[in-house]
């Protein structure tokens, strides 16, 4: 079986779409918690094909969108420091910080910022520039944290002492718990993030069903995966069952990737973390374990997370919690566009506001 094309097969998708329409006849408010799902649902046209009564909400699954204002302010401070080269994934370049500055504008003013494709690229940058401190912005979920941990181990093995990391990594299960425990969210079911689940498995999500009674399915990213996930969720709901199921069995196991988890455990400790629009969530971040503290960029640069207020009028927080759709934000398409984004949900390729702006026929 071809892992890509077969799951995009139009005939298969059309058949699954019919089944999903039937299964979801009573309606379904589902939230997906992964930017790649957000984009896939729009790019495949599935968003426009979902029947009335099926409500698609995008949760806090875009790593750029959930990066807190304080974290943005901190890395912008680092970008202005002498002797610092800031290495980052491309998504973060345009995220506006407090006051509207971004890495793009910092770069134009002379900050040394380098877009890299992996943490190992940043490590090489450090090896190639021994007189500078290379600071990598460690943003992302469980998907990217193991790679970060492996890179830090590599740095120590190679004796690269000028490589530091701003560890703003975040963990998905504590965020989902906080969303549900907050009591504001009105959803019937979760589509769980496929990439994160590949690392942690489905076991850590059991509480969604057991404690909150919310059916959840870890799903892949092809249209057929998502449709099958919806059919599974609707089936559970109809039967009055809440389970945590795995649709993405070709990638996701029950207990996840043991090697990746061991790497994360070795290098990081869980910590409280700030989420944009949500606030502090206990145990939802990763900071360096004491034995790896020499890689902590905050300590190395003498930085603390500054107090930073949300951007005036920006409702990205409510979008991330599924309380409103992007079009319900008064700034959407007026003051906030991809050309001039106010909030991160409009900046990131995987942000829900950007997805509505770029792909949705009705919102446009």
């Amino acid at each position: 079986m071809d892992l890509f094309s077969d799951f995009r097969d139009p005939e298969l998708c059309r058949s699954l779409l019919e089944q999903a329409r039937e299964a979801c006849a009573d309606g379904l408010r589902f939230m997906e918690v992964c930017g790649t799902h957000t984009v896939s649902i729009f790019q495949s046209g599935l968003h426009s094909l979902l029947p009335d009564g099926v409500v698609h909400l995008t949760g806090p699954g875009c790593p750029v969108c959930v990066t807190h204002e304080s974290e943005v302010a901190a890395y912008l401070q680092a970008a202005g420091m002498d002797g610092v080269i800031l290495a980052t994934f491309g998504d973060l370049m345009k995220v506006p910080g407090p006051g509207g500055a971004s890495l793009k504008s910092a770069q134009a003013e002379g900050a040394r910022v380098k877009v890299v494709y992996s943490p190992t690229d940043a490590l090489k940058l450090a090896s190639d520039n021994p007189d500078d401190t290379v600071v990598f912005i460690g943003v992302g979920f469980e998907t990217t944290a193991p790679g970060m941990a492996a890179t830090v181990k590599m740095a120590r093995a190679q004796g690269v002492e000028n490589f530091k990391v701003l560890s703003f990594h975040k963990l998905v299960p504590p965020a989902l718990r906080a969303l549900l425990a907050g009591g504001e969210v009105d959803i019937d079911a979760f589509i769980l993030p496929g990439h994160v689940s590949a690392v942690i498995g489905v076991e850590p999500y059991r509480f969604l069903a057991d404690e909150f009674g919310v059916p959840s399915v870890a799903a892949g990213f092809e249209p057929a995966d998502i449709l099958q996930g919806l059919i599974m969720l609707a089936g559970m709901r109809k039967a009055g069952r809440a389970e945590v199921a795995n649709q993405y069995t070709r990638v996701v196991t029950e207990t996840g990737n043991a090697k990746a988890l061991a790497l994360m455990d070795e290098v990081f400790d869980s910590s409280d973390a700030l989420w944009r629009g949500i606030g502090e969530i206990p145990g939802s971040g990763l900071r360096f374990a004491d034995t790896w503290a020499e890689f902590d960029a905050l300590a190395a640069l003498g930085l603390e997370l500054p107090e930073a207020k949300p951007l005036p009028g920006c409702r990205c927080g409510e979008v991330l919690k599924g309380l409103i759709t992007p079009a319900q934000c008064p700034l959407f398409k007026t003051k906030c566009t991809p050309a001039s984004p106010v909030g991160p949900c409009m900046v990131s390729n995987e942000g829900s506001c950007a997805a509505y702006f770029k792909y949705d026929m009705e919102a446009a």
Partner: protein
Amino acid sequence: MTRPERVLLDYGSGGLASQRLVSELFLAAFDNPELSRLNDAAVLDISGPVAVSTDSFTVDPIFFPGGDIGSLAVHGTVNDVAMLGAVPKYLTCGFIIEEGLPMADLERVVASMAAAAKQAGVAVVTGDTKVVPRGAADKLFINTTGIGEIVAQPAPSADLAASGDAVLVTGTMGDHGLTILAQREGLDFQAQVESDSAALNHLILRLIEEIPQVHVLRDPTRGGLATTLGEIAISSSMGILVEEADMPVREAVRSGCSFLGLDPLYLANEGKFICILPEEHADKALEIMRADPLGAEARRIGSVTEEHPGKVVMRTPMGGKRLLGMLEGEQLPRIC
């Protein structure tokens, strides 16, 4: 006298060193009577209406699979002139060279330009050379201006797209853009990707001679197919409906883009064009394109409609519709 191994500031002085570089390298490579006169300006034998286009090439790296900055500087400008239904005849060429550039690299680029110009049938009739201190430019920048005689009447233009027209492309999308990105960033894909850089003027001339009713010709360079179609939709105040299933994208490009979180429909092409023409001529146009190696993979991708004026809409294989917007800034790879 032997040339130093690297370009020195002296070569931009305007003195004897400059003259030696011009006569020994550029005149020899671009060999034609008008250039050899070395007057302050070139006298051209051309009759109007005339199409003129200029472009500056700053590509990094300057050598890449499928081409280099020299051939690209010829192809890019020749194609821009040809898209107006013109026959490109002359090029001007300005070099901005960073002090210290290996002389062998400059010689290789100039030889490549000369070969590309010969193949395209254009003469480089005047030029300029500047050498700037190390660090003031990145290796080599080239500006080319192209001049051609318009033969299509009326000249194809983005505002001429009309309801019911067929939208064709001459081949796969994103090859050049992904190749440059992969080379620049040292990305190693399992499958090889190669730039499609090529001069399209001969194919375009055959097309417009046989089908004078062509409404629009555009090469989807920076911003890619999606952005160029968007520009056509806005210029013509028409909607464009394209079929995702019919978008030609090489598997290596598709998988490379998937890995990086990029969309091939927004990546640059340097050897493809979009042709929009009345429906009844679409099959004939495809036949002409496919008879040429540069259009062997030509296909129809959609139609011009009165719905959604100013917008491009893509129908997905599942039957859903979504906007295909224009590129905002540059495409940036995603986190995961």
